[in-house]
Subunit: 325 residues, 2 copies
Amino acid sequence: MVHALIIGAAGMVGRKLAEQIAQEGSLNGKPLSKLSLVDIITPAVPAGAPQDTSCSACDFSLEGEAEKLIADRPEVIFLLAAIVSGEAEVDFDKGYRINLDGTRRLFEAIRAAGDDYCPRVVFTSSSAVFGTPFPDPIPDDYLAAPLTSYGVQKAMSELLLADYSRKGFLDGVGLRLPTIVVRPGKPNKAASGFFSGIIREPLNGQEALLPVADDVLHWMASPRAAVGFHIHAAGVSGEAVGPRRSMTMPGLAVTVAEEIETLQRFGGEKAVKLIRRERDPVIEKIVAGWPRSFAPTRALELGFKADDSFDAIVRAYIEEEGINV
Amino acid sequence: MVHALIIGAAGMVGRKLAEQIAQEGSLNGKPLSKLSLVDIITPAVPAGAPQDTSCSACDFSLEGEAEKLIADRPEVIFLLAAIVSGEAEVDFDKGYRINLDGTRRLFEAIRAAGDDYCPRVVFTSSSAVFGTPFPDPIPDDYLAAPLTSYGVQKAMSELLLADYSRKGFLDGVGLRLPTIVVRPGKPNKAASGFFSGIIREPLNGQEALLPVADDVLHWMASPRAAVGFHIHAAGVSGEAVGPRRSMTMPGLAVTVAEEIETLQRFGGEKAVKLIRRERDPVIEKIVAGWPRSFAPTRALELGFKADDSFDAIVRAYIEEEGINV
């Protein structure tokens, strides 16, 4: 029996992860005894959740909160909660408080629990730990030299995860997620938003802005793949992972042109016509500083699975969100 | 005119750095207006120090202390103070408190000072940020995957240094020091101690233990070179350093056999005979996990200078410590 705690269960990936675990009723074959879902707003109870499911709102980074979250010793803890890149860049203090101090407080609470308590902690990191210049593809042993405060906070948390794991205080696995495409819901202000927008908006009959050239290449994974990474990480052997606890997750290196070809296949010419090309030098410059492709050898060897194709990514979006095409 | 603050001025490198700056009366050509020396014990006043020199004892990592240290706005701050590797491994809390929280409190105090205060911060890091397996030599863009808490604390501090520099809160340069050989003074308990011991003890007529094989290769720099790195770092252009603020310093990859050949040249056969070979599997295992050699391309391009040879390292030791050979 497994008790799983998801911190950040109201976010897009956290919510889908909770839904998937609840639906399966198990985690990597072990029956689910309890599901604890927390976020800064109260997460929804997912369909099929065990009777013993708790959904609560708290700021896990505040003093004393982490201790409460782990009071009944969940065997698996997913830490997805974070201040996103843009906000962490604008609000320096808040970014460090949540993304670094929150992580550390949780790890300290686990360490302080003692009594051989050593949960699997799945930490959601990001390819934002990398900064230009890059080799192409980026190998697993390339340095983390982030160029945003968010990336720094994630890279520092990865180092803590490794050290607390090495000392036996917890058993961590860190996942450097690709950009998630297709993000469901409304467009957001993220500079990477158009990678989802040029699929999502046209499939919903709406215009989408494309601010970069068609040959821009980017590293992507579907929400479904991201959920799969988290579930697989909950069960992977810590010994097999070794001391380098955080890894680049497998994704697909997809160009904007390839995205549009896929859109054509699913939505036809009428969908493609809804893409309005309007180059934005600011976004072009940001995107030029992002990783384009990786060689995620370690993650593949450990059994983490990328999407099969960009077509599969779009098909998953259409299925999961019930889009009419 | 330059006001320089040295935090950790009673340590071996800090003391020599203070002495060198005081003796020169300037820092990279700029006359020294003031020298502030602090450590956990009161540092000595170095010969030739300017009239306006203050030596004080404080724990810079305690709340409120960093603010006092920077109250009169030193233009250059050397942060050498640290809990060493062995102690940080044994006392987890103390290591993080001094080596991580202390660094962060100093950086936060500088940021909070505002008023365009943006000092050059020279941060003393270590090749302990690297962990096996390594390529040989290790390039500048190899990942920091430390296998000690000390290495993690240094790697995290490097990330902070880069982020605070990128945001314009300070102007940082981080130095990953090689193992310092020949360390003057008494033997210490460090696993790397024998690299100095097999030179120092025989030159002082005493027996030295050699716990590893003669073909063990290690990355070394003299105390004089380490002082030179710090002084050069105080004057190097932050723009030239770029966003990756911390760098491997140039050293020499020297085998134990080469050390002994040099000892022979300076101390003759009678010195070499004072080396007692007694293999220690524990130390052999630790040493096997250490970096052997680096390709410190960036530091060399920026003008950081290694020792000329291991003979020069031993000659510097003999001169500086006034050894009779």
